[in-house]
Symmetry: C2
Subunit: 253 residues, 2 copies
DNA sequence: TCGAATTTGTGCGTATGTATC
DNA sequence: GGATACATACGCACAAATTCG
């Protein structure tokens, strides 16, 4: 029985991995072109491409069209702690996360008031499809570079006519959902987060400056009032290569 | 300037999506062969393959080698709630999750005592590389079908010589980490979970009965004692198609 | 029981598009 | 604008799995 050997593209992938591990190419360096590498090992360009795609999907390489294939820079990932202690009076959770890793946090946002709720959002907020919402699109930055995206929805009939109707406007701008709701007498008692793995869309990849099909965690988060009513829900896109997500769970017995 | 049209494989993908949505093929049905579909639309087999691969990666189709391509059955996903209230005296968290969705929970496990800790595990447990651990590999089942994998590590010098040294043996078998540690006077105060998105390995896919590169959430979980010492760490593989993960976070202000 | 036909899955080449320098 | 390099689309050949006569 003949012992089968691994396919060529896996052998090339191992070779590339080895040469990177041995620091023949340093982070940021450009690899030789696929034609060159292929000739060196006596395989077609396509075999090299498959090998590189594998390492790209694992985050070890980075392909730049028209420029070359590069050894990925190992950037320190942003640590996002999600726990009960996260919500502090007066502060923003995101800024606290950034401060903890010594980076300068900030964000850009764009709010559209009175957007009809799509079906899924309506279900999550417990309202009818098409009822009006305040939608805010966020782009969170660390040292000026985008590291996280979020789209937030709040029922308009909850905040409409109050000072906190605009999450990023008015006297309570940027204070966070919990603090803003407290201003209008709504006590937020708990959050539910549902993380799902998927790949970044082309648009998300472009906004975040990451590879096209990089892995992201898509978190559906909903804040509930102490009356059990959903008061806000958001779709948060966290790229695995830029952020690590940490849940701290207290144990009560 | 000529208006560019989408590539053929995306057009075929849309066609297949439409015919599935219109219930021309029901969940579980087999699609016509690639050759047939290709002929019908006047494209090559490979275009159909690319279109099907796209829908497979999105979970809408399922390919079975030698058999055919099938419309995916929409099975109800297992909801796994991860919160402070999860740990109950005397019960197992997993069985509670299963009961909540009306399914019969269970698991199989295999324990190896005195396994030297690999570097990453040692770092997570705060012990030296190569120090001995008790390693337990779990396969969690819902109605007899595997829905989750887990590999758990406990430092041997913590439980060695006690009745709870084997997680799934002795009088406290299957009681869970928190309850077992309590038996030897160790109070577990909190857990830290770090979810990362990735694709299933071939082995995981085979064990879980899912498609080869399906999305999974890989959770690194560590339990800490009230002294701040890590007492257990585990790598948990949760397939997105079978389970949904829910974190409940209380808000304290 | 076994082998042939069918079908999906994999590996790899070529042509073309597109971004960068 | 040309040269270079990666990205995409598509086709062919073959392997592996399944089914069926």
């Amino acid at each position: 029985m003949p012992e089968q050997q691994p396919p060529p593209y896996l052998r090339i992938a191992d070779e590339l991995r080895r040469r990177i591990a041995e620091r023949e190419w340093e982070p940021g360096d450009r690899l030789p072109s696929r034609a060159q590498i292929g000739q060196e090992y006596g395989v077609g360009e396509n075999v090299v491409r498959r090998a590189q795609e594998l390492l790209i999907s694992q985050g070890a390489l980075e392909g730049r069209a028209g420029s070359g294939t590069f050894v990925a820079e190992l950037r320190q990932r942003v640590r996002m702690v999600r726990s009960a202690a996260r919500e502090q009076p007066g502060g923003s959770p995101f800024r606290a996360d950034m401060k903890a890793v010594g980076r300068n946090g900030g964000w850009e946002s764009r709010t559209d008031a009175k957007v009809p709720a799509p079906a899924e959002i309506a279900a999550r907020l417990g309202i009818g499809e098409g009822e009006l919402c305040v939608r805010t699109v966020y782009e969170f930055l660390a040292d000026g570079r985008p590291v996280q995206l979020s789209t937030s929805w709040e029922p308009y009939d909850l905040t409409g006519g109050t000072l906190v109707v605009l999450p990023e406007g008015g006297p309570h701008a940027g204070a966070g959902v919990v603090n803003r709701m407290a201003e209008i007498g709504v006590t937020v008692s708990h959050a539910v987060e549902q993380p799902e793995p998927r790949q970044a869309t082309a648009e998300e990849a472009s906004l975040l400056g990451i590879q096209k099909a990089a892995f992201v965690t898509h978190i559906r988060r909903t804040y509930y009032s102490d009356q059990g009513r959903p008061v806000e829900t958001a779709d948060i896109v966290v790229p695995a290569g830029l952020c690590e997500i940490v849940y701290e769970i207290p144990i009560s017995r």
